[in-house]
C-alpha cells in the first residue's frame, strides 16, 4: 500500500540512503534491521516527512506523493514513534497527544480543554493505558511515555480515513522485558487497524513481532524476506557482513575474580528507593544488578557514583567507609561511570574526542600543572588505537561519532582516569550488534586487568552472559543472589521470577 521507490538521500556528501525501495502492505508488521548508520533512521524520517528524498519517490496506493512535512505525512496516515521520545515533559499527556492538532478542539478561537482531554482519554484506551490525560508527562516513566507515544500515533485515525502506518523507531531499546511484552501485545492487537514498521537492534524481537523483514547496510536494502525464512545468525550475517561471534558474551574469557574486595555495601538504603542492600565486589568481578524499573536498581547505581547519597547503611571502598555526596567524590576515589544517557551525561558532544577523553583526569596531560595540548592529543591517539575508536581525528567533535564510538570515548575517559571500579549503566543501549560485541570484548579486558565492574544491562541475556554474580532486585530489596560463573549460569526464568 505504502511503498518507497528507489529513494536516495545525501547529507552534504554523506550518502545516507542509496536507491532504497521497500513495500508496506496493510495490517502487517515490517521489520527493519541494520547496523547504526545503515540508514534506518534516515529512511524512517523520510517516511515520516521529516526529510524529502533527493531522488526516488514515495507512493501511496499506487500514486506517488510528497509529504513536505511531518504534518503532511500525518495527514496521509503515517505516524512515527521516535527513538528519542518526542513528548514534551512540561506539557500534559493530552496536549502531547494532540500537539499541533489542537485546531479540532478550538471553539470560538479557544481550545476546549474538556474536549481535548476526553479525546486524549479515547486514544489512551486504545493502548489500555488509564492515565489521567492532564498529567504532566514528566511525571511518567519511560514505558508509560512510550504508551502515550503509541496512543499519539494512533490518534491519526481521527485525522485521516487512510490506513495507518506507524513507524516504531527502536521503541524497545530502553524498555524492560515486561514493558516490551506489553508493547508487543498492543501492536499485535492494533494490527487490525494499522500497519507497523518496526526498527530494532534486538533481532530476536524483530523475529518475534514482524511478518516481513528488510535488512539495510550502508544505506542500501541488502535483503528482504518473510519472517519464516529468517534466523538471527543469518540476519546478523547480512547486517554486519560476518557471522555473529560463536560465543557472543565471550564467556570463555570469564575468569574467576581476584580475592581482594574493592567495594562492600552493608544495609545500604535510600529512603523511598531501596533498602538493606548488601554486596561485595572483588577485583576483576563483574557484578550484575537485575530488576524491573522501580525495583530500585537505577537508584542503587546512581548511589554508587554519588548522584544519590545513601540515607542509611555503610559503603566501603577499598576498605575505607565512604558516603559519596557527589560524582566528583566518587571519581576521586577511583570510581568511573558509564551512563545510560550517553549523549547527555556521557559526553560533552560539542567538544573534541581528545577533550572528552581527558575530562575526568587532566593530571595525565599536565606538565608542571599546565595542560599540554600536544601530550593530550598523543594520549588521545593512544586510546583511539587501543579501543579502535573509528574517528577521523582526535579533534573531531564527539557529536560526529556513531553511538558505538561515542561509548568507547566514554570508556577511555575512565580508563584514562585510572578508575578501578566502573559502574556500567546500560552500556550497550542503542548500539548495533557489532558495537555491542566490541563493548563485551572491552568488559572482559577490563576485568582481566582487575577492574571491578557493576553492571545494569539492557537484557537479561546480557546480564547473565557477562556477570560473575548477579543481584536480583524487586521493590527496593535484593530478592536473590546468583553465582554466574561459566557453566553454572542461571537461566532467565530464574532471574525473572525474583524480579516480578
Amino acid at each position: 500500500m505504502l511503498s518507497v521507490k528507489n529513494v536516495s538521500k545525501t547529507f552534504g556528501v554523506v550518502q545516507a540512503l542509496d536507491d532504497v525501495s521497500l513495500e508496506i502492505n496493510e495490517n502487517e508488521v515490517v521489520g527493519l534491521v541494520g547496523e547504526n548508520g545503515a540508514g534506518k533512521s534516515t529512511l524512517m524520517r523520510v517516511l515520516a516527512g521529516v526529510y524529502a528524498p533527493d531522488r526516488g519517490s514515495l507512493q501511496l496506493g499506487g500514486k506517488s506523493i510528497v509529504f513536505g512535512s511531518p504534518t503532511g505525512a500525518n495527514l496521509n496516515g503515517i505516524g512515527i514513534v521516535f527513538q528519542e521520545q518526542s513528548l514534551l515533559p512540561n506539557l500534559s499527556i493530552a496536549e502531547n497527544i494532540y500537539l499541533g492538532q489542537e485546531r479540532q478542539f478550538v471553539r470560538l478561537g479557544l481550545i476546549s480543554r474538556q474536549r481535548l482531554n476526553a479525546a486524549a482519554r479515547r486514544q489512551l484506551e486504545k493502548v489500555h493505558a488509564d492515565f489521567d490525560p492532564r498529567t504532566r508527562t514528566s511525571e511518567l516513566n519511560f514505558a508509560a511515555r512510550q504508551m502515550v507515544e503509541l496512543a499519539k500515533a494512533l490518534a491519526l485515525e481521527e485525522r485521516t480515513d487512510r490506513h495507518l502506518v506507524i513507524l516504531l523507531d527502536e521503541p524497545t531499546s530502553m524498555l524492560e522485558q515486561r514493558d516490551i511484552d506489553i508493547l508487543f501485545a498492543r501492536v499485535r492487537a492494533l494490527r487490525a487497524r494499522a500497519s507497523f514498521v518496526f526498527v530494532s537492534h534486538r533481532l530476536e524481537e524483530v523475529l518475534e513481532i514482524s511478518d516481513r523483514i528488510y535488512v539495510m547496510k550502508d544505506g542500501r536494502v541488502v535483503a528482504h524476506m518473510p519472517v519464516a525464512d529468517a534466523t538471527v545468525p543469518q540476519l546478523h550475517q547480512l547486517m554486519v557482513g560476518r557471522d555473529r561471534h560463536a560465543e557472543y558474551y565471550r564467556e570463555s574469557r570469564q575468569h574467576a575474580p581476584r580475592a581482594e574486595v574493592v567495594m562492600e555495601a552493608s544495609g545500604l538504603a535510600v529512603d523511598g528507593a531501596y533498602r538493606e542492600i548488601d554486596f561485595t565486589l572483588r577485583k576483576g568481578e563483574v557484578l550484575g544488578i537485575a530488576g524491573v524499573i522501580g525495583s530500585g536498581r537505577e537508584e542503587l547505581t546512581r548511589t554508587l557514583f554519588g548522584f544519590l547519597p545513601q540515607t542509611r547503611g555503610k559503603l566501603r571502598v577499598n576498605g575505607r567507609e565512604v558516603r559519596l555526596n557527589s560524582p566528583s567524590e566518587a571519581a576521586d576515589i577511583g570510581i568511573g561511570y558509564i551512563p545510560r544517557e550517553r549523549r547527555v551525561e556521557g559526553l560533552v558532544l560539542p567538544l573534541s574526542v581528545a577533550v572528552n577523553m581527558t575530562l575526568a583526569s587532566l593530571q595525565a596531560v599536565k606538565i608542571r600543572g599546565v595542560i599540554s595540548p600536544k601530550r593530550e592529543r598523543e594520549l588521545a591517539k593512544r586510546w583511539v588505537e587501543k579501543l579502535h575508536v573509528r574517528t577521523p581525528s582526535v579533534d573531531t567533535l564527539c557529536l560526529q561519532l556513531s553511538g558505538g564510538n561515542q561509548q568507547k570515548v566514554v570508556l577511555s575517559k575512565w580508563m584514562n582516569a585510572r578508575s578501578r571500579i566502573l559502574i556500567f549503566d546500560h552500556p550497550t543501549r542503542g548500539l548495533d550488534v557489532g558495537a555491542k560485541e566490541e563493548v563485551y570484548e572491552l568488559i572482559r579486558d577490563l576485568s582481566d586487568d582487575g577492574i571491578a565492574i557493576v553492571l545494569t544491562a539492557d537484557t537479561l541475556e546480557e546480564t547473565i552472559g557477562l556477570c560473575h554474580s548477579i543481584l536480583a532486585m524487586r521493590d527496593g530489596r535484593v530478592t536473590a543472589r546468583f553465582d554466574a560463573s561459566p557453566g553454572s549460569k542461571p537461566s532467565q526464568v530464574d532471574l525473572i521470577r525474583h524480579m516480578v
Binding site: L88, N90, L91, E102, I111, R113, A129, L140, N141
Partner: protein, 345 residues
Amino acid sequence: MDPEVGRQSSNSGVSTPALREPERAKLRPRSLRRLRPFAPFVALVVLSLLVGALNPRFFEFNNVVRIANSAAIPLVLALGETFVIILGSVDLSVEGVLAVGAVVISLLVRNDSNANALGWTGAALAIAICAGIGCLSGLIHVQLRIPSFMATLGIWFVGVGMATLALGGSTVRVLDTNIRSLALTRLLEFPLAVWVALSALGLAWVFERFTRIGRYVYAIGGGEDLAVLSGIPVKRVKVVIFTLAGALYGLAGLLSAAQLGMGNALIGSGRLFFTITAVVVGGSALTGGEGGVLNTFIGVLIIAVLANGMVLLGISPYVQQAVQGLLIIVAVALSIDRARLKIVK
C-alpha cells in the same frame, strides 16, 4: 514461585508501574511538589504581612490602590516579557520600544508641539508601530539566527534612538484628555490604567491557556526540536510572540504617557531589569517552558510591594538597592522548583 508475586505481575497493567517510578525517583512527597507553584504567592503574603506589621498604613485601601497603580505599567511590560521567556528567549528591548510607544503617542494625540489630535486612533497607531518593532526583533532573531539577547539589545538602542530622533530630545506634553483619563479617571476607586493592565492580564491568561499559539509557546520552551517534529511552525510562533511583546510594550508606553502626561525618550529608562526580575521572581524559569502570566502577576506585585514598603518603612536610600537585592534572592529561593530544573544557569 510464590503466588503473591504471580498475581501481582499478572494483573499489573501499564498504569501501576507507570506512576510508581517518579515518586521514587524524585524522592519527595508529591504534596510538597504540588505546593511549589504557590510559593511565590506565599512569599508575597509574607512580605505584605511583614511590611504591614511594621507600618499598618500599608493595608489602608488607598495604599492598595497606589500599589496597584504603580504595578500597572510593570505588569503590562512583564506580560510581554513572560511569553518571550517561556519560549526560552529573552527580550531586552523593553525600554526602547516603550519609549517609542510613549513618544509616538504623545506626538499623535493632542499635544503642545504639533497640530495632531488623533486621540485613540493615535494610540492604536503607536501600539501598532511598537508591534512592528517587536516583529522586527523576532525576524532578526529567527531569520539571522542571532540570539534574542543580542537582537533585542540592538533593537533597544534603535528604539531609544528613534524616540530621541522623533523629539529632537525635547519633552512633549500630552494634552488629550481621553488619554490622560487612563491615569486620572477612576472606576471603582482604581485608575483606569489598573483596569487596562488587569484586562491585559486576563487576555494574556486566556491566550496562554486556551489558544494554540499560547500552548506552542510552552512546547517550544520545553523542547524546540521536538516542537519542530510535531509540525509546529516554530519560527512563526516566535515572531508572533515577539510581536505581541512589542504591542504590550506599546500599551505600556500608552499608560506611561497617560500617567506622566508627557512623552520623552528616557521615559522607559530603568524598566528592563525590574521587568525580567518580576518574571523570574514570579517563578518562570529563564530556561523556558515553565511559569506563566499568573506567576508574573504575583512577581510584579512582590516587587511593587517591596518598593512601596521601602518608602513606608523609611529605609535609607543608601541601602535600598542592597535590601531589595537580598529580598529578591530570598523570594526566588522560595519560589523556584529546583528539583525540576536539574541545571541552573
